[in-house]
């Protein structure tokens, strides 16, 4: 007899959190509890809306999908209701502070939960929302976490790949988010041929791998579905928020205008300059990230930025 699917708790009422809640409900008819202030209880079929964290004491699997700046305070409050039994995974593409701490580190510091995981890969909120076939990656050093997420979320329309390299997956998600901005930027430029774009992407991913390795990530994770795969998907995802920001900037929009155009919060905007500084501190080449930071800060023209990037991509 198959054991019943565990109750799934989702924290975060934005499009991503809502899509994850729907996906969990759709996959195994799991009972889903969603913490959100945007929706009223009863407004989402099969999903129980809650306003505080107490109900999460009874949800053995919890998915956190809130913006990275508030994850620490959310985790601290949530932690009051958790025990060692809980599995907590997050789907946040951020890295915290100048030391670039991963979200799982924050969850470790702020909650008693130890079985932590991260979601990554190419899947986007609209695909999850509509049930269009896609793929995601779950990373955890705890095999029971990856197994539980796979059993809870996977279905004919959603492939769930697993990795034990949670650090690699968290860094891959964050850095590919950053590179997606650059991708959007390059895509709309007439002076960027497909060949040049491929060279830029390839060089930028190599650079991301070198930086993430400093933090203990495995290169294979960044070159896999959670890294390269994620970036490849961005090429076709014209409405991915990071890509939207990059495109707008390339057309000469200000950062503020570009972010408005994306409609959603883009973690990469604040992250790119920190990644460049982190790489410099650790003696890792960061030409792509530094150029991207200049683009975001408006400190370079599109032409000059591309000349810099092109110069780098053709070196060696």
């Amino acid at each position: 007899m198959t054991a019943p699917a565990p109750i799934v708790g989702v924290i975060g009422g934005g499009p991503w959190g809502l899509s994850l809640a729907r996906a969990a409900r759709r996959a195994k008819q799991s009972e889903v509890v969603l913490h959100t202030r945007r929706h009223a209880d009863g407004s989402l079929p099969g999903i129980r809306i809650v306003r505080d964290f107490a109900p999460f004491a009874d949800t053995p699997l919890i998915i956190v999908a809130v913006p990275s700046p508030i994850v620490r305070s959310v985790a601290r409050d949530l932690g009051d209701h958790l025990s060692g039994r809980h599995m907590v995974v997050h789907g946040i593409r951020g890295l915290s502070g100048e030391e670039l701490h991963t979200v799982s580190q924050i969850l470790r510091e702020e909650t008693p939960a130890r079985r932590l995981g991260a979601l990554g890969g190419p899947v986007q909120a609209p695909e999850l929302h509509s049930g269009r076939a896609s793929a995601m990656v779950v990373g955890s050093a705890y095999p029971d976490v990856t197994a539980t997420v796979e059993a809870t979320m996977a279905g004919p329309w959603l492939q769930v790949k697993t990795t034990d390299d949670i650090v690699g997956l968290e860094w891959a998600s964050a850095l590919m988010g950053c590179l997606s901005v650059g991708l959007g930027y390059a895509q709309v430029r007439d002076d960027v041929s497909p060949g040049l774009l491929a060279a830029l992407v390839s060089g930028a991913v190599d650079e991301a791998v070198a930086i993430a390795k400093v933090a203990g990530a495995q290169a294979s994770t960044l070159y896999g579905l959670g890294g390269y795969g994620d970036l490849l998907a961005s090429m076709a995802l014209h409405d991915r928020p990071e890509v939207v920001v990059g495109r707008a900037l390339a057309r000469g929009a200000s950062l503020e205008e570009a972010q408005r155009e994306a409609e959603l919060r883009v973690e990469a905007v604040e992250l790119v300059p920190r990644v460049a500084r982190y790489a410099q501190l650790h003696g890792v080449a960061s030409g792509f990230f530094a150029a991207l930071a200049d683009i975001l800060m408006g400190e370079t023209s599109p032409e000059a930025a591309l000349a810099r990037l092109f110069g780098m991509s053709t070196r060696g």
């Binding site: 054991a3 565990p6 053995p60 699997l61 601290r76 932690g79 009051d80 025990s83 060692g84 039994r85 599995m87 470790r108 510091e109 702020e110 909650t111 008693p112 130890r114 079985r115 050093a141 705890y142 095999p143 029971d144 539980t148």
Partner: protein, 541 residues
Amino acid sequence: MANKRAAPIFRFNDQRARLVRRTVDRVCEDMDNPLLALNDAAYHETRRLDGSKRAKDQERLERWKGLARRLGKMTQGERELALRELVTEYAEDIAGNFDPRVFSFSTRLVPTLVTGLLNPSRLVRSISDPTSLFSIESLRDKVRVEGDVERLRRLAEIGTLVFVPTHSSNLDSIVFGFAIEASGLPPATYGAGKNLFTNPLLSFFMHNLGAYRVDRRLRHGIYKDCLKTYSTILIENGFHSLFFPGGTRSRSGMVEQHLKLGLVGTGIEAYTRTLLAGQERKVFFIPSTINYLITLEAETLIDDFLEAAGKARYIIENDESSRVARVAAFARKLLGMDGSVVIRFGEPLDPFGCAVDGAGVSHDKRGRRIDTASYVRDVHGNFALNAARNNQYTRELGLEIADGFRKETVIMSTNIVAAAAFELLRQAAGTQDLFSVLRVRDEIVDRDTLAREVLRVRDQVVDLEKSGGVHLHEGLHNISGGDLVAQAMRAFSGYHTTPVIQPRADGVALRDPKLLFYYQNRLTALGLGYDPTRTAVGRAS
């Protein structure tokens, strides 16, 4: 204080047969594929014994070759029987013994012997006052025990203590045993290298003090399973235990940061099994450090570290600890100085690496109380043995133990002066390359320059100590650089075969770069001192 005589080890001999039987049963029951396991054992043992000229080894080799030939033709039942015979042989070999009379005798003998080595005239005086022979007080000034001992005594009544100290000398188990005894803590059983049992005197005590035998030459899965299972069963049954998670003595002198977690992991399994049996018994790990002003085997250890083949020489059988005269000279030297050995019991941890208070309650990093049992519940809320999950908990526990090692390290005058002197050697060599620095011989440095460098290193340690990152040995906080050098020089002089540093008319001669490297390495894990893997960031130019 807890009644030490109530500790389970005092009932060990009554339980020995049952413990061995349970070990055999569990190893055999959990073995998925006896054919694979026996093949693996035969392969490793044949390789190990092949070429040995000892008659016993040749006999064993023939046995293994015979088994390897027969394995393919055996029925499943015959393989299971062969497995059981082998496991029984190993479990009997591993299991220790505990004689309360020997324990009682040794707790009096150790201070006496050490006192005698330190001060022979005391032995003469003791003729008129025999009770002075048995005074443990005489050792207290020499071997200091620090840490929250009262909390450990309470925890010993609630659950099973697992001491996990740093390891730098074959004297560690004796010194640590003394620390446990002197602190009023119950004795702990521990796994001692089988090579130590070849010394008749040591063997007599180890055999009768609850030590179990670990044969590090045996690398195959069946033996490792026996060892881990025996340890698990001991902990489940409340036997306080001692592991050296460094695995072997630190060759470099560094505080161990890469730990071998096989036996450490038995704590989680033991705890989970008590929950499954409905008889929860908590397990508390105590990261501890053993800090020597000078190390008995420093010369051999650092040579071994520096030799290309050093890492392969896992068992050293001919170092200073096997020479009685060297041990006596060392003891006389070391114990002639107050506080020359400091043992620090660190903050207790549960098997999941969480901090534990005096009532045995675990807390998360925010200080919340945690139900420890919740960590081994599965997604449906049931207790479950899950080896892959437990391995990850153990890795995280290992990180906390390594962190405890750093925080509980006591930096001695010898470490500071060695770090300062080695930095001056490095400057003289004009390179970061270790072997170039080690080739600089008999460098004479100006006393004031050395004193200044010593104070710079000392102040770095003080800064780290303020943030709880380390402990500076008592009495070093406010003394001058010159006095610190003089103190270290007194400690170094007279024991090592080559003087480490030596006063000269025109300054101080840095005589033995290898030993300076060894003693300064104690600072490396703290991010201080010379680290050949690091660039010279933050160094004085």
